[in-house]
């Protein structure tokens, strides 16, 4: 679809806008409806739009496969690391009190870090599920196997 100039121009306008809005929703999760889950889904949707227009190989050159796999795990590890920091610095697991000086700043810092971890995990998992489905279809066609739908079309 990348030789269709209408779609390319509008995608070139929309994809950065969607990513920016995803980052806005992520970091304003404390003041307005938002947070990690919604932001991760929005960011992954921007990448999926890019793949739909420019193809899967170009999409994988922008965000490589290893990066997607490792970011998914790193998000959860960030969450657990914030929890263990609470234990190391003298509190309980996932206790945000010992992180910074004032209690309110410590809670806010803990919430921002934790939501960022959740957002990164959700974005990379949604991207990975989509690219697994897309690669499966490409592999089926390349191996010459007839798909089920062509046989069952009655």
């Amino acid at each position: 679809m990348k030789d269709n100039s209408i779609l390319v121009i509008v995608a070139r306008f929309l994809i950065p806008l969607v990513m920016l809005f995803g980052l806005y929703v992520q970091f304003h999760g404390e003041y307005s409806p938002g947070g990690g889950f919604q932001a991760g889904v929005l960011f992954a949707a921007a990448w999926i739009l890019f793949v739909l227009i420019y193809g899967l190989e170009t999409g994988l050159r922008v965000i490589p496969l290893r990066v997607i796999y490792s970011l998914g795990c790193l998000g959860v590890l960030l969450y657990c690391a914030v929890g263990l920091m609470g234990v190391i610095l003298g509190g309980r697991f996932l206790d945000y009190q010992p992180l910074l000086a004032t209690p309110q700043a410590a809670q806010q810092a803990g919430i921002i870090l934790v939501e960022f971890g959740v957002g990164v995990t959700v974005a990379s998992v949604v991207m990975m599920i989509f690219l697994q489905f897309a690669r499966r279809r490409a592999q089926s066609q390349a191996a010459g196997l007839e798909l089920d739908q062509e046989q069952d079309r009655s």
Partner: protein
């Protein structure tokens, strides 16, 4: 009220249709209607999540799955009468139990008595952020959110484990295939 009626109609249509593409589009409309209902009930975070995940990503992923499977659902033969009886009895019992619940949204519900007022009053003095939902999710009940993130990662790993094996040519008996095509 209109949205609830629309929800019932769309839900019935999703169950009754057998064309999978129509069912996907109806499911997207269902998610959007639920998001509208959440906005009416003043739940901003949930509405945003439902609209983004249900009407956006879920539709894309189901369409990506539909590229790999047959386009229509197989017709189920016969009725399963004991199952129908059990479902009917359970549904009637649940509807009878709903009439026993306290009034929706009244201030002296047991739900609103114990930790609800504590969260509403203490979120801003404790944390300094106005969004109570984010505070409850990420700080008061933080271990649950860690469990949710781990569940999402496990789902991703499961999809990866299922789909990363390259497809092989399946051995299929030709007369079984023609028999199912005559029935369906």
């Amino acid at each position: 009220m209109v949205l609830l009626v629309l929800l019932l109609v769309v839900g019935t249509a999703v169950v009754l249709t057998r064309d999978l593409l129509k069912a996907t589009m109806l499911f997207a409309i269902y998610s959007l209607t639920i998001a509208g209902l959440f906005v009416i009930l003043d739940a901003g975070d949930v509405a945003l999540t439902e609209a983004a995940v249900g009407a956006g990503i879920s539709t894309i992923l189901i369409l990506a799955t539909l590229a790999l499977v047959p386009a229509r659902e197989h017709r189920q033969r016969g009725h399963n009468r004991p199952a129908l009886l059990i479902v009917f009895v359970t549904g009637a019992a649940l509807v009878y139990a709903v009439s026993d619940l306290p009034e929706f949204g009244s201030a002296d519900n047991p739900v609103h008595q114990h930790v609800g007022p504590y969260f509403i009053e203490q979120t801003y003095p404790d944390m300094g952020i106005p969004n109570m939902v984010a505070a409850v999710l990420a700080s008061y009940r933080s271990i649950d959110t860690m469990g949710e993130a781990i569940v999402i990662l496990t789902a991703g790993i499961a999809v990866f484990a299922l789909l990363s094996v390259p497809p092989r040519r399946r051995q299929r008996a030709p007369d079984a295939k023609t028999r199912s095509r005559d029935e369906g």
